[in-house]
Each structure stands twice: as structure tokens, then as C-alpha cells.
Symmetry: C2
């Protein structure tokens, strides 16, 4: 399977950082000011993140140009994710600052595809938000270990740990191979999306 | 107290709709494609909504111009809200479609100012999300009644009702006078915000 053209472009443009972490091979879409990356511990299949290329912690730190580029990227990636994962709705969420639940100090919009009843077995529609906080903590901690190969169990950054049942039993951090495979697949799907 | 200039502009530009509901007098900021309005049942003081002026249900329905305008407005309103309400973080969330918890079929971004420990008495940092879903349901139902004068208790749109403890005991829909007073105050504060 040959490398998607957009992945070649991304690898040449790198290194790409998510906060202090190097994430170049998890990135599946790159624009002048933003990038989209697959997630270490997706809440649901297709849960991805969109960030500005410049490492800044808060939305207000973005320039107007970066702000427009970020959310045009959110809109376009979200449309692709909804199509590819057969979803009918999306949660779009930004934890803008530590007191809002942000653990990696780099602006990132979560895009999570939703389908009717998709979280019924985990407590219903709202469970997505509870899981979001668990994921954030673990995301930071596991990236810090630097390998992403399955050691993500335990407490989150700063000892934060919530809803351990949901987090411990069902969600495992994924290996790099799985994430890179998904990044290639999503890069190909983004290449099919109309520009508008 | 004289009417803020931006409120005069909004009243002249109206009527402004939030889904099927007329909300002109709750709007405190208007741009070419977006508006910001105060909330019937704020989760925390300063919880506001930003919507496109065109009534469309999904983010993908927005044009690129509308998308940029909406999120530049979110960023600018968010900065003002953080300042005015003495917050240190913000939750920004869009329930994009019914399966993501959207009850009023008109794109709207929630902006919720956060401070350390602000929801400790309601179950911690995550409670904001649980409350978000309760608010959405009630928002739709109470708007449907058309007066916003305190009849917001009970089940949400389509019978949705979650986390009744949080919702019933502590959050009451506000009267029009209180909301309009807040809209005038926030309109004045927006007039002070730098354009960038």
C-alpha cells in the first residue's frame, strides 16, 4: 500500500507537536495553520483532535487567521468523520484552560462522531463528556511516557481520575501501528473531501 | 440608564430567531453572520450561546464565511465573558445534531466561564457537561412556552430528563427582565472589547 500524498506532505512538513509531545505520524491532515490527528484513546471510533500548528494554550491566544483556519478545519474534518464512521451527529468540544479540564496546554478541539444509542451501554448520551475528561488525563500521561504502547492505565495528569469504571475496563491506549494505519486511512478520506 | 448603542442596532436589525424562537431582546452582540445571546438557565453565571443568524441545524450547513464569523465571534465573546465574570478557563461545546444532545435545531456554541472549584458542590469539574444536557432540554421546552417566566421545571423536549437533582433544585429559568438586563450589561462590555 503506497503512502498517501498528503501523508508525504505531512512527514516533510514535520516535526509536528501536540503540546510538548511529538505527534507527526499520528497527523492525517495539515493546513497552513492547523492539523488533525488520531487519538491515543478514542472515546468512540473516529474520535479525533484538531489543533493549531503553533503551540498555544488558549483560544484567545490564536490570531484571527488561525481561529478561522482552525474551525474551517474542524468543519471539514467533522464532515469526513461523520461520513466515514457512519455517524448522524457530532460532539465538538474545547476544554479551554485547566479549570475547564484541559490537561495538555495546547488548544485542541475534540470531534466525536455520534450515533443513536452508541453509549447506552455506558450510561447514555452524556457519558461522552465524562469519558472526555478521563481521556484527557490519560492522553497527557501516556504521551509523556513517549511510546503509546499500552501503559495508559492508572491516574491521569495531576492525579485526576474520574469515572474509572468507564476508563479502566473498556478503553485501552492504542499502539503506534494502529494509530498510523488509521491516520493513513483518514488522510485518503480527507483527500476525497471537497474543499468547501 | 440609556440604551447601549449596540442594543439599538440589534433591535433595528431584528427579529432574531433561535431555532423557532424569537430571542431579539436576549441578544447582546451581533455580527454580519452571527449573534450572541444570554441564556434562560445558565449552568454558571456568564454561560452564553453564540449562533449563526441563518437558522441551520448543523455545522456542515454553514458556509465557510459563516463558519469563520461564528468562531471569531466565539473567541471574542469568550474573552469578554472570561474578563467580566472573573474566570480563568472556558468550556466551549457544540452539540451538533440530535444524537449529540442538540434539542434546538439551530447551530449554537455554548461558552461557559470556569473557575477553580466552581462546581465542587455539584459533583466536580465534569458536572458542567451533565448540566449542559439538562439545560438544553429545558431551554427548548421553556422557549416553546414563549414567556420564559419560571415554568421551566419538568421534563425536557421529547421527554429527555437527566440529572434531575442538579436541574431541579438549583437551576431556575430566569425572567425576561433579568435576561434583558444582562444583555444590556454584556452589550456594553462587548463595546469595550478590542476588535481583534
Amino acid at each position: 500500500m503506497s503512502i498517501p500524498p498528503s501523508i508525504s506532505t505531512i512527514l516533510k512538513a514535520g516535526p509536528i507537536h501536540f503540546g510538548p509531545f511529538l505527534v507527526t505520524t499520528q497527523v492525517f491532515h495539515l493546513t497552513p495553520h492547523s492539523y488533525a490527528l488520531v487519538n491515543l484513546k478514542p472515546i468512540l471510533p473516529g474520535h479525533v483532535l484538531i489543533s493549531p500548528r503553533r503551540v498555544v494554550p488558549r483560544v484567545t491566544d490564536l490570531t484571527p487567521t488561525e481561529t478561522s483556519d482552525l474551525f474551517l478545519t474542524v468543519r471539514r474534518v467533522a464532515r469526513m468523520i461523520e461520513r466515514v464512521y457512519g455517524a448522524s451527529s457530532l460532539n465538538i468540544a474545547i476544554q479551554d484552560g485547566a479549570e475547564a479540564g484541559q490537561s495538555v496546554p495546547h488548544v485542541h478541539a475534540h470531534v466525536i462522531p455520534r450515533r443513536r444509542g452508541d453509549l447506552d451501554h455506558r450510561g447514555g448520551m452524556d457519558a461522552v463528556y465524562e469519558m472526555l475528561d478521563g481521556e484527557e488525563g490519560d492522553l497527557g500521561r501516556v504521551f509523556e511516557k513517549g511510546d503509546g504502547e499500552g501503559e495508559g492505565e492508572g491516574v491521569g495528569v495531576g492525579g485526576r481520575r474520574r469515572f474509572p469504571k468507564v476508563d479502566d475496563e473498556e478503553r485501552k491506549p492504542r499502539g503506534m501501528k494502529e494509530m498510523e494505519g488509521e491516520a493513513w486511512m483518514l488522510a485518503r478520506e480527507m483527500e476525497k473531501e471537497p474543499v468547501d
